[in-house]
Symmetry: C2
Subunit: 227 residues, 2 copies
DNA sequence: ATGAAAGTTTAGACTGTCCTAAACTTCCAT
DNA sequence: ATGGAAGTTTAGGACAGTCTAAACTTTCAT
């Protein structure tokens, strides 16, 4: 009787999904994704990240070079985008169907994204009419993993004095979201950048009849388009 | 500076919730809940159950007497009822808001019940108008842990030839649910028991213009009331 | 009332994810 | 070019939840 090599069933756990999501997002912001960066974002120790990166590499979800950094494989990217699709669909659903505020949805989506079935995902997408954007203006990956194009610049770069339209607010922090919403800075709002202080100083914007000074780091996360 | 005794954070995990739910349901059907019974229902080995019962006892969620059996404490029962409330609210929500069939909701609810926040639970209940019954007619525990009274008997005991109304179908098996729905045996339907074969034999029921013979074990799970 | 069968618990091991502490590698300023 | 700081990996351990195998307890039929 030949001994059959027992194939490890190797599941993609919620934790793995979170790592992939984090790596995906960081890869968009920086060229190299390092162990410590991931550790900071995930709220775990670097040694835990190293261990997980080895696991992910074995699963062919990432390319991992010790001491250099990590990058998603196409497979890893696909998984990351599926999770992000879940997350953003859920956020939008909670707002549209259950009366959540845009500042309340992130935590809930962070958990649900890992556990909804394909069927529930499909029903939610259908109920929402296959939307392209979540409540923050973040694009929702399509089923095939493609992301809608975005040609937006941020308030930190937008041309001065020109009327622009907010298309996206990249932030997950509930209080900060409530703050910027309080200033009228929500997707769809029309604004003008009046002034930008030097040395990465505050950005002054006009919203309706009010003027507000925004920290540069915040301004960088508010994306606008012409119009 | 006084040293504060580090309180074990002892979380109630999804697995713990499943054990409590199982023990709760079994305690309703039998006087004693034994290790092996729990093991069968949960699909784990008896030794795993023993280990978990010890944990649950330490958490004051159950009263556990080795070799005798286990029973929920009031605290354990409260937790079980909260999970059951989640489960049934979710089942109803999926049917009402997202077009699920009553045979499709169980698996999804089985997972979601452990992860929805109090806030989401409240929004769902509100959206449904604080319902008393899920799609199978199972009562939904109230927020305070009280269960609506049920004075139903089953088709296995209902008086012969008398018109009765189905109020509840206690089954989680998707295919069986589709089968009984196909026979017209859904909550609200009006039926008559025509005959009951001896020795726990089949129960013959009249539904509309059709007559069906039901296995006694199935009949026991279809609850009816006068009318 | 006793011994085998059935049921239960204990002992010890494994997996996934995390940790701390120690060792190692890279980077950069001198 | 070199030595310390910063970053990273390795080693070893913890905990939750599972398993198998062995030991123990209860039950029941004779």
């Amino acid at each position: 009787m030949t001994k059959v090599a027992k194939r490890a069933p190797v599941e993609i756990t919620p934790v793995i999904e979170d790592y992939l999501k984090t790596i995906y997002r960081m890869a968009q912001e920086q060229s190299q994704v390092k162990t410590t960066d991931v550790a900071k974002r995930m709220g775990v120790k670097p040694s835990s990240v190293t261990a997980m990166l080895k696991t992910l590499a074995e699963l062919k979800l990432v390319e991992y070079k010790p001491y250099y950094g990590v990058a998603l494989t196409p497979l890893g990217e696909q998984v990351a985008l599926e999770v992000i699709r879940h997350h953003r669909l859920i956020e939008l659903y909670l707002v549209e169907a259950l009366g959540y505020g845009w500042d309340e949805v992130h935590e809930e989506a962070e958990i649900l994204e890992h556990v909804i079935s394909e069927k529930l995902e499909a029903r939610i997408a259908e109920h929402l009419g296959d939307p392209m954007l979540d409540p923050h203006g973040d694009p929702i990956p399509a089923l095939d993993g493609t992301l809608p194009e975005t040609t937006a610049t941020s308030l930190a770069e937008a041309p001065l004095r020109k009327r622009v339209r907010i298309v996206r607010v990249c932030d997950q922090h509930a209080e900060r979201l409530r703050y910027v919403a309080g200033l009228g800075l929500v997707p769809g709002a029309s604004v003008r950048v009046l002034e930008r202080a030097p040395f990465d100083g505050p950005v002054t914007v006009r919203v309706g009849k009010r003027t507000h000074a925004l920290d540069q780091r915040l301004a960088r996360n508010i994306l606008v388009e012409e119009g």
